[in-house]
């Protein structure tokens, strides 16, 4: 049988091109093949390979097996109710997975509902990709954990074999209670900062400007900032101002801190920073500010907006400061760094680290180490910057004096040309 097929095919190909044009030729040959292959449904492939290895492959045989074989059950869930959009979405995700798209393998009901609520196809894909990555990370972590546990078991076993008899007394000065001691020490420092520390305000008035995701990022950054403040030699006294009870900020903070929230050594208040401190000692830090910060002042109260702005809405924090008539400053990033890419807005934890460093050392180079390396290509020589500045001034001056002086007519003429 297979011989007849392989014989007929070349025949068809050979003969037809001279008579029919391309499209119909293909049609013709495929119909021919289909007829042939349907006549020989029971071709067993392993046999075929062994019988006629050098022959051309039989091209259409797979179709019959594909058609006849049982339906691949992609989703066993709720196959009875076809109308259910949830099931339809689940099937869609399953099919996408078969296609090698970035979608999660397992998905919960809640997540499925979120997928369905996504307005557009691209937002669906985006969310599914997020879930996919989350799942992947989780899985990788799980595997790592298991490997670690196994290694630990192994280690224990070998240790048990070796050191059963060698159990002699040793002299130690301290019990191994490092972590707790650290915590207590940091608590003391924190309490001191609450009494005598320099205030640092996080302004929590940006809830309406952020999406839920941005808000979550903000809270993560706040946690990180608080952590690095706690570990510092001379911590700030942190204020969370404009933190309304039961606002999204508040709920999320409580969720993340849990029990610890009430024992944190910082001041959380519903009041605004302008109510707590004299207006003229407040400096609002914002990248949009026209004023550049030159030194860290120990008698000022710095305000940082706790705001993650992924949608690029410039000028919001500057508007807030303008409204309250506060002084504003921005970090002298351009003065010290050769800026390359990325926005000048830094994350909250980078901000607090820079401020802490400035507070302790006053050294800008040291402080700006916390600016991500990817954003700049290196430090500018300060002398270089000032040199440039002087040059600019000089140029302007000669320009000025020239045009004022006797050469006035000539220079003007040159521009006019």
């Amino acid at each position: 049988m297979s011989i007849s097929v392989t014989f007929l095919r070349p025949f068809a190909r050979f003969l037809v091109p001279f008579t029919l044009h391309r499209k119909s030729r293909n049609l013709y040959s495929t119909i021919l093949q289909r007829n042939m292959s349907s006549k020989i449904p029971s071709l067993s492939y392993p046999n075929k390979e062994s019988t006629s290895p050098p022959e051309q492959l039989e091209l259409d045989g797979w179709k019959t097996t594909m058609k006849s074989s049982v339906r691949e059950d992609v989703s066993t869930v709720s196959s009875n109710k076809d109308e259910d959009p949830l099931a339809a979405t689940r099937e869609l995700i399953e099919m996408w997975r078969l296609l090698g798209r970035e979608v999660p393998e397992h998905i919960t009901e809640d997540e499925l509902k979120t997928v369905m609520e996504c307005a557009s196809k691209s937002s669906k894909k985006k969310y599914l990709k997020y879930l996919y990555i989350k799942e992947k990370v989780k899985k990788a972590r799980q595997i790592k954990k298991e490997a670690k546990a196994a290694a630990r078991e192994e280690f224990k076993k070998s240790k048990l074999l070796e050191t059963t008899e060698e159990d002699k007394q040793q002299n130690f000065l301290f019990l191994r209670l490092w972590d707790r001691n650290m915590d207590i020490a940091m608590g003391w420092k924190g309490a001191q900062a609450m009494q005598f520390g320099q205030p640092l305000v996080f302004d929590m008035a940006y809830e309406t400007h952020m999406t839920p995701k941005e808000l979550q990022n903000t809270i993560s950054q706040l946690l990180e900032s608080e952590g690095s403040n706690r570990r510092n030699v001379d911590p700030f006294h942190i204020y969370f101002c404009n933190l309304k009870t039961d606002s999204a900020y508040h709920r999320e903070l409580i969720k993340r801190y849990g029990e610890k929230w009430d024992k944190l050594l910082l001041t959380a208040t519903e009041k605004s920073h302008v109510d707590l401190f004299p207006k003229d000692s407040i400096i609002y830090l914002t990248a949009d500010s026209p004023n550049v910060m030159t030194t860290f002042k120990h008698d000022k109260i710095y305000v940082v907006g706790s705001f993650v702005d992924k949608h690029m809405q410039p000028g919001i924090s500057l508007a807030k400061a303008k409204r309250l008539k506060l002084a504003t400053e921005c970090l002298p990033l351009d003065k010290y760094l050769q800026w390359d890419v990325g926005s000048k807005n830094l994350t909250l934890d980078q901000m607090i680290r820079i401020l802490l460093c400035l507070k302790n050392t006053g050294n800008w180079e040291e402080a700006l180490k916390f600016v991500p390396r990817r954003k700049h290509t290196g430090y500018l020589e300060v002398s270089q910057y000032s040199q440039e500045f002087i040059n600019r001034m000089k140029k302007a001056k000669t320009f000025n004096s020239l045009s004022k002086g006797s050469l006035n007519g000539r220079t003007q003429k040159r521009w006019l040309e």
Partner: protein, 566 residues
């Protein structure tokens, strides 16, 4: 002095360039005239005019002749040849090419250089190829996507599938099937598409949109095109079908003469707030050639109105289709005035309010200015009589980096002041401070010749510019080179954005000089609106040329002019 404020005279350039299709179209007309015009004239709205001797040159896609001519023709010609208008198609492309910094992106290096087979291989050969292949990914899916990309022949792909099936108990994975389907659809192998469709139906309970899209595209050419509509329904279960899906279904319906289904699908498409592909609209016009039906004609005219309302411009071939449907092609050289660029009074008020609310205020007055400053500005504008020209002082002054700012500003102001125009110069307070770039005496002279308003250094001056111009009335123009895209983006909906764009085209004066001191000249202002338009007995349809890349803030320069037979 080539400055030309009245805004006329822009026609000449716009309508001058010769139509590409003129010659061909003409012969077409003369060929077909004798046979068809008599038969069809009665049913059509627009019908052929007989070619009268004095009209022979104006036949096909003719660009209407300028009604108004510029006073100084010579300089005008020079203008149109060397510098392109800010808003006309292709200008941005040209500008970007002039910029030496932009370099071509290097092509990504080609990994994995396995030569794709050109003819079907047998299983041994496939095995060998697989051994040669070194890469992280699965060989089968990699090679099949390569083949899909390079449009290998269907037979090669089929041999691959046969090989995979042979290894795998006759089972072929879903992704391979989809890629094979892609090839079949690309090569228009309808019978293969149907085969794959059968297989997919048999094996999988439901498909995902990509496969459905391919199947739809493949099936519409076959007798089983109605099943494509079922597939469309399947897509609808999980998401909104794309406009391409609709386009395919509509074309399938038209291919099989089912006009009702096509129009229903079109309505559905619009109801989903999708913007139909121009291809879809073209298909309706192409199909319209063969049917004589007032109802259908009316719907086609509705499509033209849709183009108008959404500021869409047909492509070159679509314009051809429209023309063929009208079978007019008899350009009036009509001398009809194209719709004016000026807004109607209601539109004007609407835009003014919107600019005030969305651009200047924007929910937080502190963002771009401060309330007290805004008040100061409003009082200032109220106290002054309407202006003729509003100047963006900083934008103008920074035009020539080598010249002193205040000097450039002074030059422009005194030049305009000589024409007895009431000027307003907007700037920032730092311009008043004595500095080498801003000389006090020159600024004093500016203030003598024009009214000035200086905003805070951290406020934005563009919104004030827009408001002052709008407040002064329809005759008032503004001078800046800024394209104002960010302010346009602040407007909430596309309708207002279109209004803004139209107003901007009609009122923005952009400086054209490359060197200071030679007398400042402006780009002419478009005096007409570039939009699909009708006067009842004539249609003017701007269209995109195939070879010109048009940016979103530019408008086409070519027109299709259709005229009803009188």
């Amino acid at each position: 002095m080539t400055f030309c404020l009245s805004g006329i005279g822009s026609f000449a350039k716009l309508w001058k360039s010769n139509p590409v299709l003129l010659g061909r179209g003409h012969s077409y007309l003369s060929l077909f005239l004798t046979d068809f015009c008599g038969i069809r004239n009665q049913q059509r709205w627009f019908s052929l005019k007989t070619v009268s001797p004095q009209n022979t040159k104006a036949t096909d896609l003719q660009i209407a002749k300028a009604r108004y001519l510029r006073k100084d023709e010579g300089s005008n010609k020079q203008v149109s040849s060397d510098s392109s208008h800010l808003f006309l198609a292709g200008a941005a492309k040209k500008r970007s090419q002039m910029n030496p910094q932009s370099k071509d992106h290097a092509l990504p290096p080609v990994k994995n250089t396995i030569e794709l087979p050109t003819k079907p291989l047998n299983s041994k050969e496939w095995d060998k190829l697989k051994e040669d292949f070194k890469g992280k990914v699965n060989f089968e899916s990699w090679i099949s996507s390569q083949m899909a990309q390079c449009h290998s022949s269907v037979d090669v792909a089929k041999s691959l599938l046969a090989w995979v099936a042979a290894k795998n108990n006759g089972i072929v994975g879903y992704d391979l099937l989809v890629k094979y389907l892609h090839l079949c659809v690309f090569h228009k192998q309808t019978s293969e598409v149907i085969d794959v469709y059968e297989i997919m139906k048999a094996r999988y309970k439901s498909l995902e949109p990509e496969a459905n899209t391919l199947l739809i595209r493949g099936l519409i050419h076959s007798d089983r095109w109605r099943e494509a509509l079922l597939l469309l329904e399947d897509i609808k279960k999980v998401m909104t079908p794309s406009r391409k899906n609709y386009s395919d279904c509509i074309q399938g319906a038209l291919l099989h003469q089912d006009v009702n289904i096509a129009w229903n699908l079109y309505q559905e498409l619009l109801a989903h707030d999708l913007i139909p592909m121009l291809e879809t609209l073209k298909a309706f016009f192409d199909f319209g050639k063969d049917i004589e039906d007032d109802h259908y004609s009316k719907k086609l005219l509705d499509i033209l109105l849709y183009l108008r309302n959404n500021h869409l411009y047909p492509g070159e071939s679509f314009a051809h289709s429209i023309k063929t449907w009208f079978e007019s092609g008899q350009c009036s050289g009509c001398g009809k005035t194209i719709e004016s660029i000026h807004l109607s009074p209601e539109e004007y008020e609407f835009l003014k309010g919107k600019i005030m609310r969305d651009v200047i205020d924007g929910g937080d007055q502190y963002k771009k200015t401060t309330p007290w400053e805004l008040k100061r500005f409003k009082n200032f504008v109220k106290s002054c009589p309407p202006f003729d020209i509003v100047i963006d002082g900083l934008n103008v002054a920074k035009m020539f980096p080598k010249a002193r700012e205040s000097q450039v500003l002074l030059e422009l102001v005194s030049q305009l002041a000589k024409q007895n125009l009431r000027l307003l110069v907007l700037g920032r307070k730092h311009m008043l401070k004595k500095s080498p770039r801003w000389r006090k005496d020159e600024m004093e002279m500016v203030r003598e010749q024009a009214s000035c308003f200086f905003a805070d250094n951290i406020s934005e001056d563009d919104p004030f510019l827009l408001y002052a111009t709008l407040h002064s009335g329809n005759h008032c123009k503004f001078v800046t080179k800024d394209l104002m895209r960010d302010h346009k983006a602040c407007l909430s909906d596309s309708k207002t954005q279109h209004l803004f764009f139209k107003w901007q085209q009609g009122h923005q004066l952009a400086i054209r000089n490359k060197f200071p001191g030679s007398g400042i000249t402006f780009q002419h202002i478009l005096s007409h609106d570039t939009v699909v338009q009708t006067t009842g007995d004539s249609w003017h349809i701007p269209y995109d040329e195939d070879l010109v890349e048009r940016y979103s803030y530019e408008v086409p320069t070519k027109w299709l002019c259709l005229h009803r037979k009188t």
